[in-house]
Every structure is written in C-alpha cells, then in structure tokens.
Amino acid sequence: MILGVALVLIGFWGLISRKNMIKMILGLAIAETGLQLIMVTIGYIDGRTAPILDGAVNTLLAVRQVVDPVPQALVLTAIVIGVAVNALMLTFVIRLYQKKQSLNISDYKDLKW
C-alpha cells in the first residue's frame, strides 16, 4: 500500500520534473502501476487464495476462501486501459517528433493564452 502510494508520488514527480516527453509518459506509467498495486492490496485478504475457481478452491466455499475478486477484475481493466493510453501517447510523441525533431515538452508551446 505504502509502496503503491510512493510509486504514485514518484510518478507524479517524474511527470512534472522531466522535460522529456517519453520520461513524462514513464512517470505516468509508474503512477499507474503504483495505483494498480494499491488496488490489489485493497482486495487482498490475508490467508486466502486467488479468486480462480479451479481445484484449489471449493466451489461452494469460494466466497470464504478467495480474496475479493472485484478489485482484481478492476485492476485487469485498469491495466488494459493504461496500456492503451500509454501506447497512444507514445504514438503522439513519435508523430510530434517527426514534426519538430524534439522530445522536449517545452518546444510544443505554440498554443497558449
């Protein structure tokens, strides 16, 4: 949990302190990872197993044996979405680089005020 929060903060720090756009994206990715970690932690219940209905878990008693499945489902979705966004951002960076040959965020200030 603490690690997650720390990661989120590190990610934010990266986002606002790095001029390089790729590093900024990495900052966001780190923050997302931290968040995902927090989500998993929240769903985790000591002494229980993964919420997968296979041999290790009794189907009827599953609710008592497995950790909360919902956060895990959420994490999966969140990861997918995060990946998609990061990929899209990277594409944008590539396109931007092609236009201006710079990865510095400060070079893209044509739109302002």
């Binding site: 989120v8 934010f12 986002l15 606002i16 001029k19 756009m21 900024m24 966001l28 923050a31 997302e32 968040l35 927090i38 989500m39 929240i42 919902v70 956060p71 959420l74 979705t77 969140a78 979405i81 998609a84 966004v85 899209l88 951002m89 594409t91 944008f92 960076v93 396109r95 931007l96 236009k99 201006k100 965020i105 400060s106 893209y108 200030k109 044509d110 739109l111 302002k112 005020w113």
Partner: protein, 1047 residues
Amino acid sequence: MVAPIYIPVVALGVSFLLPLFDRFGKKTVNGLFLLTLTFFAAAALRWLSYFSVANSPVIHVFTAGFAPPLSINLQVGLEEALLLAAVNVLALAGAVYLLDHLNAAGTKARVLFLLFTLGMNGLVMTRDIFNLFVFLEITSIAAYALIGLDLKLHSLAAGFKYMIAGSLASIFLLFGIILLYQASGTLNIDGMIAANLSAGNNPLIQGAIFMLFLSFFIEMKQFPANGWALDVYQAAHPGVAAMISAGSSGAIFFALYKIFPLAGDSWYLTAAISGSATFVASNWMALRQKQATRLLGYSSVGQMGLLLAVLGFSFYYRQPHTAYGYILAALFFNHFFAKAGLYWIAGIIKKDKTASWAVLLQNPLLLFFFGLFVLALIGFPPFAGFWGKWALMMNLGGERAWYAISFLLLGSLLEAVYYLRWLGQAVRGEPEKEPLPATDVPQLTVTGLFALISLAVGIWLGGSLLPKDFWTYAFPVILAAVVFLFDGFSVYLRVSASLVVMTFLGYYLYPTAQGISFYFAFIFILGGMLMLMASLYKKERSAGFYPLLILMFSSLAVLTVADTLLGFFMSWELMTVSSYLLILRGRKSREPALLYVLFSLGGALAMLAGFAVLQAVRPGAEYWAELAHAGDYAVIIYFLISLAFLVKVAALGWHIWAPDAYAEAEDDLTAMLSAILSKAGIWGLLLLAVFMGAPLWHSLSLSTVLGWLGTLTAFFATLYAIFQEDAKRLLAWSSIGQVGYIVMGVAMMSHLGWLAALWHTLNHFLFKGLLFLAIAGVIHRTGTRNMYEMGGLIKRMPFTFFSVLIGIIALSGVPPLTGFGGKWLLYEALIEKGWYLQAGVAFFASTIAFLYCYRLIHAIFLGIPKPDQLQVREAPFRILFPQYILIAFIFVFSLKPAWLLKPLSAMVAPYFTPTLGWQGDTAVSSLGYWNGTVMMILVVFIFALVLLNLLWMSRGSKKVKPFNIVYAAEKPDRPQTTHYAWHFFAPYQRAMRPLLKPLVRHFWQGVGEWTATGGSVLRRIYNGNGQSYAMLILLFAIILFALTAGA
C-alpha cells in the same frame, strides 16, 4: 422500444464490422456508419417520447442476469432519455458534418467516432461506478485519437496535453473508486449513495471522495486546471471540438450529476465556488482572445463552470431535483446546441481570427445562424439560456446567495462582451475580399438544424415558465415573425404589413392598458407606426429591418402592460436585443452598437439582480406590485433595478453609449431611438416609483439622488451638445439632456413633477422625432452629417426648414409652442418641491439649449450655401409627411394644452393629490398660472399685426442673392467660405473648458482597459507547456483540498 443494452452492443458490433466492410467501398461503410448512428438517435428519441408521458416507469437493464450490486446495470429514465436524445442527435449530426474529414482518415476514424458515441451513451446510462470509469476512458481515448487524426502539429500537441490531463484524472478516479469500493463494498452508484458514505468522518472515505471528485472536476475543465482543454478546442478540427465541447463534456457532466449525491456537504459548496470561479475566470481571460476556436474554448470551459456551479448550488440548497433541475436543463441545452453550432460554423468558414468573420456577410443564412447561436449563449430571450438565467437568479436570490449572484452575473456580462464584439465583427467588420469556401450542404443543414432546435427548446422552456399571459409576451416575437414573411417583397408591402400588425397589437392591448400605461402604449404604438411610415423614404431596406422594428416596438408596447417581473424582463431584453441589432445596421456602428448593448445588458443584469434580491424578502415574488414589500432591501433593489432604466435614458454616468449609437445608427432609426426607445427607461422609472415610492437610504431619499442625476444629465448633455459638428451627435446629446428633464420630473414624486415628466415625454417624442426625421431628410439629400459642410439650405428645402424651426422652438421651450408647457410644469414643480438649486441648474441648461438649437438651424439652413448644394432637392415627401403630422400635434397641444394636461392630470391623480387646478383654460398651480390658449392667440395676433405692418412697409423691397454679400467693399472670392459654422461656439468652449473633461468616458475606458488587461495577464498561466498544465492540475488538487477541508 429498443432496450438500452443494444446501444453498446450495436456500437461495438458495428465497430468490428466496419473494417470488414471496407472492401465494399466507402459508400457502404458510410451507409452503415450513419445507419448505426441514426438507429441510436431514433432509439433515444423514442425513449424521450416514452418518458414525456408522465410517470412512465424507468427502464433498467441488468447485465448477466443479476441484480446489482452483483452486476452492472444500465438505467434510462427521463433525465437519461433527454441526455441520450441530445447526445445521439449530436452524434448523428456531427457525423454528417465530419463525414469528409473522417473519410479522409479511413475506416478507423469512423470506428473511433462510433466508440466515442458509445462512450457518451455509456456515461449517461450506466449506474456502475467502475463501468463509468470504463466509459469515460473509452470516450477519452476515442477523443484523443479523433483529435490527433489529422496529424497536424497543433492537434498532436494539444492531444498530448489532453492525454496528460486525462491520465492524471483517470489515476485519481481509479484511486477514488477503489477506496470507495473498499468502504462500501459495492460499485453500484445507487448502493453507494444509499450507504451515505460522506456522512461519517472517516478520513479514508473523505479521501476517496476527494479523489473521485477531483478527477471529475478536472474532466469538467475547472480553472486553473484547464489549459489543455483550451488547446484542444483551439487545435482540434472544429467538428471534433464540437463533439467534445457539447457531447462528451455534457455526458461527463451528467455522470457527475449522477454521482454527485455521493459527495458530502463540503463538496456542494466547493463545486459552486470552483464552478463560479471557472465561469468568471474563463470569460474574463477570453476578453482579449482573437482566435475564434480558442475563444469558443474559453466559453465552453466557462459554461462547464457554470453548470458545475449550478449543480453545486442545487445540492447546497437541497433542491437538486426541483427548481434546479429546470435550470440545469435550460443552461445545459442552451450551451449544447449553440456551442456545437458555433464550432460547426467555425469549421465551415475556416477563419482563425474573429475579425475575419465578416466573411459571413457573404452567406446571410450562415450569418443568421451565427447570430442566433451568439444570442442564445448570451442568454437573450427566447433562448433556453434566458430562462435558465432567470430561474437561477430567482432561486439564488431566494437563498440570499449574494456572492453567487454577483459573480455569475459578472461572468455572463464578460461572456457577452466578447460574443457581442464578435457578432459586431461579423456583421460590421472589414469586408473580406476572399470568397467564402464553397459551403457543404450537409454541414449547413446540420448547423441550421441545431439553430432551430435551440430556438424550439428555448420557446418550449419559456412556455413552461410563463404560464400567465403567455400570448401577450409571445406577441412581439410572433408579430416579428409574421413581418419576416414579407421580407423580400417591396418596401411598401413590408411597411403595410408592419402597420397592420402594429394596429393589431394596439387593438389587442387596448383593453389592458390604462392610465399612464395607456399613455406610454399610445406613444410606443402610434409613434412606432408614424416612424414606420417615415422609414419609407429609402426605397431599399435589407432583410430583417422591419421584423426587428416590429420586435422593438411591440416589445416596448408589451412592457407597458407587463405586470409580472419575468414578463417585463423578457420584453425588456427583447427590446434591447432588437434595438441593438437595428443599431448595428448602421454603416460604422460596430463600436457604438457594442457599447450600447453592453451597457444595456449590464443594466438588465442589474435589474435581474434586483429582482433576485426581492426573492429574499418575498419568496416566489412574481409581480411588480410585490416590490412594494421590499422592506429592508428596498434601497438596494431600487438601486439595482433603476440601473437598467438609467442606462436606457442615458443618465449621466451611463450615457457614453448614446451619442455614438444615435449618431451612427441609420438616420430614421435614430429618430425612433431618441423619440421612442429612450422613453422605455422613463416608463421603468415610473413603474419603480409607483411600486416602491422613494426608498430612504439613511435619511437620503433615493429620489433626491435621482433628481440630481437628472439635473446634471440635463446640464452636461446640453453643454456637450453645443460643441458638436455632427448634426446627429448634436441631437443625440440634446436627447440625453431632454430626457434628463423627464427624469427630474419623475424624481420629484409630486403631481406637478409627474405632469411635467409625462408632458415632456410626449413633447420630446414630438419634437425630437420631428428634428431627427428632418435631419434624416437633409442627410439623405446632402450626404453629410457635418453641419459645416452645409449652409443656406432654407432656399432648397423650405419644408424641412419649417420642420426644424418648429422643432427647435418646441425644444427650447419658447412660448407659445408645447415646449413651454413642459418648462412651466417643471419649474412650478421644482419650486413647489423646494428644489431651488436644481431649478437653477435646469434653467441654465435650458438656456444653453438655445445655443445648439440655433447652431443646428443656422449651420444647415441659414448663411451661405455650398456651391455643390445649390441644386439639392427638398426631402422626399414620404419623410416630410410624418413630420407634418408631428407638427400638427405640436400645434394642437400648443393651442389647447388643456386637452393633454387634463387627461394627464387624471392619470397622475391616483398616485399624488393633484396640485394643479383649472380656471377655464388657465392651469393654476400652487405658485402660478398659465393659459396656453390665450398666449397662443396673443402671440399669433401680435405677430400678424407686425407682419402686416412690415408687409406694407417693405413693399418694393428687393431680394438679393446669398452670394452677393459684401463687406468692406469687397466681395469674397469664395463666399461659401464665409459661412460661419465650424467651431461655432469657440469662445464659449474656452470659457467652459473646466467642465468639458470627458471624465465619465475616461472612467469607463479605464474600466474596460483594466478588465481586459487583467484578463490577459491572468491567461498567461496557460503558457502552452503541457508540463505546466500538469502542475496546474496538481495545484488545483491542493486548492480543492483546502476548499473541501475548509468548508
């Protein structure tokens, strides 16, 4: 009816299918694409019609066959159906609009568009908070991609900034959701609300709520965390920007509306504060913006702020679904249709700078739509924004939310500034040489469709707020529409139609208007008809002139019978907007019209605030009569409401619009403005006095203040009038001054005072109408307004000369004509009242009036003619005829003042004990007496005798030509140069110099300058750097935290 679940299903299905259909060609893909969107729109409209029947059960859809919380459920009720209908109609229209753009990017673009639509639909329908997150992300990702689709540097950069902001928001959102889940054990929104999480003081839950709403506030583009949004709006293809500004922002707002009950009390106020700040700040920062799409971006952001603020207030005051539901709907749909329409227009004409939008003149239809959208956004009736603004202010007033009222009104005034400036640039900017790009018919069609929907929604909303006398208040619009049907026919037919509808209106109002209100209705309607006849002197009138005139006159007439506050305010706004659009028709009237409408609007907003304050004392007050019970708030209410009227009468301090507007408006329109429109303010002041009397501020009566204001207006305006070179400006200042006298009369709050005011109201109508029409005729023939460029026209235009002569005699108050009646009543009243000093100043002013009267007639008609004007013809009969009707009235009332004065006395009698008695035809006041009839006979008799005497004595007198003047035995080479007209009162100007500093103008210029500069300094925070934007978002988080923790 379609089950809601089919929307996501079909959207996803078609998205997968579209690439497969690629091989069948573009047409098939587009067909399928549009078919899908049509299906959505049709389904949504079907739901809407289903829910329009009261008490229809809400549709629930449970996925996977379980009830929540185990499954995700979708819900469609009335609110959802409204949103879905709007969003899907927008999606369809947007798709039609964007079709070419999307086609250029291939099939994937259409898939993105479908997903974007799906996301919006999902945001509206889902009741599961995590699902909400998913739909939000779908919408956002689709939006990112749509923005970057054109691969332009600006779009990509803007998209990247958007993505940074979006990612941050989604991190916060997810964080919040997971914490909330932990606390409540459910993801279902209804379940969470039922758990009433915010009640406890659990820091974890508060933190979760903080994260959740922080994210939504960022998505709502709150100041200052909204730089990215501005860039997106500016850079994205306008079609895409329209989808984001209206569509996805709207859907996100609705999602926020759904989950808002989760937030605790502290958030309600925070939302109100943040939203108001955003509304004011973004409109403020937009003042110096010249980039069209970015300007729209500022406005969009501001509107989101307004919506959030209203949402906050609605919860803060515990009325989320009653009154505020209406307000939210009105404001939301107003923004929704108008903003989409404006972006589309921006996309059609492809002009970056607002100043280049004059190109719209090449396409009147598009200009018309543009005008409608702008007026809608500013909140003029009958658009939805007007009703929303009204209801919002009345509710906030009832809650005594003074700060909210002032901030929101300030914000909407600022918004009006740049929109109206823009409208002015479009209508009266430098004409563009480049032709308008060939207009795409589907694009024009959807824009027009939205304009119509916007109008229809407005009228529909208005109908529900104006239950009583709906038709009376709707008349002006209906009559204008009727006359609009005649546009394009000959001028004679249009004028005839106008006269017919005015007669009809008079007939309709006749039973309702009584006493003073009848008097004013009489002036407004018959005066209007007379002026309509005069307008015939020009053969050509472009479309819209007569409908607007009818709108102006009939809303003026309706003002006289409006007994409800809303009805009055609506008619007032209609009158303002129609007169503004009329003034804007003048060739150089861009700036003057802007100044006029801004002052008027400022005044109207003050009036609105006044009505709102009344709600605090008399909750639910609807009628003027309730102003009598204003109690402790009487002073502030009187002050606020009177501002609107003082602007209209151009009282000193609020007058700077008047000289320019009068001078630059079309010549016959100026006559109408001065003779008729300025009386609207007088009518308002009378109403205010009837219902509120003269409230006391400590021991100072507000009517004393008003009296001094009138006195000083009369004095300074008259003083300025004498130094004008432009005939119309001279008369404009004169109008301001003359109306100042009327204000004095009203302020006296006595029988004689009101008689003076009412007498002068009619008299000013008569002589100022006469003078302006006569001058219009002169300008029509000579082509100049500068008096020194004329001279000696008495020989060429004797009938016009006679008009002006009678006009100035009536104006200056020289007996025996009607003008004297006004002076006599005024001084008797002033001295009776004990206002001696005011009487002295008024007298001074009226002697100064001789100076400009003489200057007017001398410079134009007397002296030496200009050689190029030797062949000038008399003014057209069509403009002379109304003048002579006015002259006839002047003579009748001069000969028989009793015919007017006695009825007036009866009209005033209900309010004050009469102090004017009669002995035959002699009017007797407490101080003196006056017999206009004997006076007239006496003067005519003596005049005739002297005339006969001179006729006899001067027989054989020879007439000499104007050019053979001689002095010192020398005949000037160019005699016209000796016409003493320019800078006529130079020595007087030297003597009066200390009084001639335009302090008021400087003051207002300063206000304008500083406001605009302040806005442009503030907007520097949006430095274009994506990283700074991210920092601003984090800063916003801190501010928000402080706010919620503090609240």
